[in-house]
């Protein structure tokens, strides 16, 4: 779990490649911890820190995770099963990781217009009252554009 994340650079659409929409998708998002806001910045200059807010020029949006909080069961209650029987008709485990989709069309358009070909993503985690929280974990980040 981390309270900030800096990605490798993601390739941006080529300048002549028209798109109607761009989404940044976080896969495998853990929601077993407390509730938090993940502030997302794309193409920020080096040195950006957690004081960056929604007025920052690289701010692309926020995703909010309604965290499960601590386990209220006994040992193993909140352990997500590694495998699932294809004939198991029960609903998925309550802590099955989720997906977060952030639409970032304007931000990506601005970066492409500025002739950027790649951009890194920075994420800062904020709990209630802006407090830092080490509760961000996800498996993959993807930038998608749609013509």
């Amino acid at each position: 779990m981390v309270d900030r994340f800096h990605s490798k650079a993601l390739e941006l659409p080529e300048p002549g490649q028209a798109f109607q929409r761009a989404d940044l998708v976080f896969y495998g998002v853990d929601h077993s911890g407390p509730t938090f806001e993940a502030r997302v910045f794309i193409g920020a200059k080096r040195g950006i820190d957690r004081s960056a807010d929604v007025e920052h020029p690289a701010y692309a949006g926020s995703v909010f995770v309604f965290g499960h909080g601590r386990c209220h069961g006994e040992a193993g209650h909140c352990d997500v099963p590694a495998e699932r029987d294809p004939f198991d008709w029960r609903l998925p485990h309550h802590l099955e990781p989720g997906t977060q989709i952030l639409t970032v069309t304007d931000t990506v358009r601005q970066l492409v217009a500025a002739k950027k070909t790649k951009a890194a993503v920075d994420v800062f985690v904020h709990g209630p009252q802006g407090k830092a929280r080490k509760c961000l974990a996800f498996s993959r980040l993807r930038l998608l554009t749609y013509a």
Partner: protein, 263 residues
């Protein structure tokens, strides 16, 4: 049944109107407070503690978050607690909290600690011993942030307009929903106890209303077929049965008026 624009063929007098929490008349607000007070006073499975406990503690935690069933499950949940409240005060409906209005943050009807010298049943609620995450947390509490940090109407409209796909829409609406839980803070910030706070119902009514408005803007858009006949435990209701609010007996019309017909 389809998830196209909800049918308007049902007699309008049979439908109940869920109103903005800011637009309740004195009598409507008094009825709502009476229904909450009476429900909070019942300790069995007709009472407030039972219904609030379904969302979180005591185990099992039944709410669906980060799940394809987020919106249908909570629509069923609202339906059943509204029925429980109507058993106490016939005709009462859950109001919705329009948190895109930033002038006061929490709706005044829910914010005042006391009304007419008594504890306001919309401001807080007891938490049953088996429902507490901390034995000392006997009542709900809030720590709201600055109203400027609430989502704007433009932001919400963007989510409604740009997402004809159900799952993308639900995903982005759920994120906004999560942000409101965090904004209210306190009990609302933790799904294991959030539903004990009376503002929970007004918040989720707003979420339910936004799903309804999305259905109007994207006729026919709905969950994929494999999901439609899934049950929504512990409620005796399937996803398909939640798709049309008029079948559940309510709507979110911006205004409503009726006159007698020819007979």
């Amino acid at each position: 049944m389809s998830a196209a624009a909800p049918a308007v063929t049902a007699a309008p007098t049979a439908l109940r109107h869920r109103r903005s929490a800011r637009r309740l008349s004195k009598a409507q607000l008094a009825d709502l407070r009476k229904a909450f007070t009476l429900a909070q006073g019942i300790g069995d499975d007709r009472g407030y503690q039972y219904w609030a406990g379904i969302h979180g503690l005591p185990l099992p935690i039944s709410c669906k978050h980060s799940s394809p069933l987020f919106l249908p499950w909570h629509r069923a949940y609202l339906y059943f607690i509204e029925k429980a409240l109507q058993d106490r005060v016939p005709g009462v409906t859950l109001p919705w909290w329009n948190w895109t209005r930033h002038d006061t943050g929490l709706p005044p009807a829910y914010a005042r600690a006391r009304v007419d010298g008594k504890r306001n049943p919309l401001a807080s609620s007891p938490i049953q011993p088996a429902g507490r995450r901390d034995p000392k947390e006997k009542r709900t509490w809030r720590a709201p942030e600055d109203p400027r940090w609430l989502p704007s109407a433009a932001e919400v409209n963007g989510v409604l307009d740009r997402n004809p796909d159900y799952f993308t829409f639900q995903n982005q609406l759920e994120s906004i929903h999560n942000g409101i839980h965090m904004w209210v803070g306190g009990t609302m910030g933790d799904p294991s106890v959030a539903a004990y706070d009376p503002i929970f119902w007004a918040h989720h009514c707003m979420i339910d209303r936004l799903w309804y408005l999305w259905q109007l803007r994207h006729p026919g858009a709905t969950l994929p077929a494999p999901y439609l006949d899934l049950a929504l435990p512990p409620f005796a209701m399937t996803v398909r049965q939640t798709l049309d609010v008029t079948r559940l007996g309510y709507d979110y019309a911006a205004s409503t008026a009726a006159v007698p017909g020819t007979s």
